[in-house]
Assembly symmetry: C2
Homo-oligomer: 336 residues x 2
């Protein structure tokens, strides 16, 4: 019961390997009657082609690879589902690789296990990208802006989102706004922060450095950050901010819980906004005001760009997607 190969089909049908291959792949030089005989033989033996052989010879896998260090969080579910759909619509399969091992990632990409790569949160550096260019490997980054030869990108306008939130809060009358940052080395968080500061500056306001706390993108870290922030503020007599902008929804939730624990109501006493619009945001009490990433648009755009790259287009400019402000109940006018 060994695996049946094209050779077996050739023997069974009485034709050569070459004609069998052509018949099976619909190359139209083969006569109708022999084609049928071959198809029957293949069916009789229940032949299924070995994809390695096929791909090795043809040089193409007809699959796109999505590389990421993790898939936890609702963002990925939606993104991956969408990527798979758009890929399939264009005749490509999607393959998801979860790894933070740079060498492994480079091996699978350079080893031609996929025709093109979609990259998120991977430690691919500039040298690697140069290598992609040298070897004409097409890739699209989803988390960093770059455009160089056969690699391009499609990212959120994090800074614009920060600015939008800043403007929204300022319009509500807030003047003293705090920021709950993520990890220091997360570029995204910094961009959002920069946007917020920019909005402040545009209105002739300044961001007080002591108003920046470290939330680490986690609920508990954010909870604790708020607690110690409040303690320090009382100690030194800082005026409390009227609004907190969190680096993501999870830390916004932590912040609200901490504020409530300290007897402060959201949004009556203090407004809080998040980033991302995760599932929970809508159901939390109070429902979170936040910025939503246009995930579908990003997925569609990423696949489109990658496909163009695959067709030989070069230096496709990076695309920047605006976020969408979702106003719910965790923000309100400044209490007068």
């Amino acid at each position: 019961m060994a695996k049946v190969t094209i050779k077996d089909v050739a023997r069974e049908s009485g034709y050569s390997i070459a004609t069998v291959s052509k018949a099976l792949n619909g190359v139209d030089v083969v006569k109708e009657t022999t084609k049928n005989k071959i198809l029957e033989a293949a069916k009789r033996l229940d032949y299924s082609p070995n994809l390695m052989g096929k791909q090795l010879k043809s040089g193409s896998t007809q699959t796109l690879g999505f590389f990421t260090s993790s898939v936890t969080g609702p963002y990925f579910s939606i993104l991956i589902d969408a990527l798979a759909n758009f890929s399939e619509k264009n005749g490509y399969g999607l393959n998801v690789f979860i790894s933070s091992d740079r060498d492994k990632i480079m091996n699978t990409i350079r080893g031609r296990l996929v025709d093109g790569a979609l990259l998120f949160d991977t430690i691919i550096n500039d040298d690697d990208i140069e290598q992609f260019n040298n070897e004409r490997i097409s890739s699209v980054f989803l988390d960093r802006k770059i455009s160089d030869g056969s690699t391009s990108s499609i990212v959120f306008d994090s800074q614009g989102a920060g600015r939008a939130i800043g403007n929204y809060l300022i319009n509500l009358g807030h003047r003293n706004i705090a920021y709950i940052a993520g990890y220091d080395d997360v570029y995204d968080s910094e961009l959002r922060f920069a946007g917020l500061k920019q909005a402040l500056n545009d209105h002739g306001l300044v961001f007080e450095p002591h108003n920046r706390l470290a939330g680490m993108f986690e609920e508990e870290a954010s909870y604790n950050a708020i607690l110690s922030f409040l303690r320090v503020a009382r100690l030194r007599g800082y005026e409390l901010p009227t609004a907190f902008v969190a680096g993501n929804d999870t830390s916004a939730i932590g912040a609200i819980k901490a504020l409530r624990h300290e007897g402060l109501n959201v949004p009556e006493d203090i407004s809080v906004v998040g980033f991302d619009d995760i599932d929970v945001a809508e159901y939390f009490n109070p429902p979170l005001t936040t910025i939503r990433n246009p995930i579908m648009a990003q997925a569609r755009g990423a696949v489109e760009i990658l496909l163009s790259l695959l067709q030989g287009e070069q230096d496709i400019p990076s695309q920047v997607l605006p976020g969408e402000l979702v106003i719910r109940k965790s923000t309100s006018n400044i209490p007068s």
Copy 2:
């Protein structure tokens, strides 16, 4: 700047292809000094082996495939992440294939693109499984109980979970319990229902057929189902249930919203329990009492079984995992 192959490394180093291959793969028949020379040459040319060639020859890809029709929902994030981790720990990569196209799935599995398959929510039928057995393809199902040759499974004890919830509610004093079902053809939902009925029977109670409503596993469908159920109950003078068991958390949420809309409080007037323990369950108001799937245990078990299968073990019995009752605030004693 064409792709550099092992041939190029052979030329560059002055050795034959065979020795280069051995040097690169650490086969220890090659002399230390030549090995070094070859390694240097490879580095100089920045050689990266073509994985198709490698895999075609070796017959193994060192990857496990996870096949699913979709990845939406928090369950998958956790499951996939865990599967990837456990695979990696055992020297295998994990590849996620999202497709509901049976032929495509069978092609990639039979085409030997992966060494073994983890299957969830795919339309693989019994003939296909027989084919796996014929071709000695190892596979593990995560959503249906089966044990046959080189295919096995690891699933939740849905019926046991239903029973557990039933017992819990009965102990709280509930006697009149309703069930909000999913789709009729979802085996899982039926098992849960059967478990619930069993618990009732065990206590000498009966399930009233009119107490089964169709929630479709969706928030809105469940919302509407409750509304019309309430209307009919009032019309016909049925006594209202004191507890609703929903087929999943999402429909539990829809149910609670509908009950609240009708002026009924949860859990004061009516208890509601869900299934799955999705993220939102904890943050919803009131926090949901539900049953949690031991996703990590399932992932670990699935990989372990698949690995054993890959090593030639046969007829591994199906594993059944018990769910964990998570008691929160959506259930209470029956009002006396």
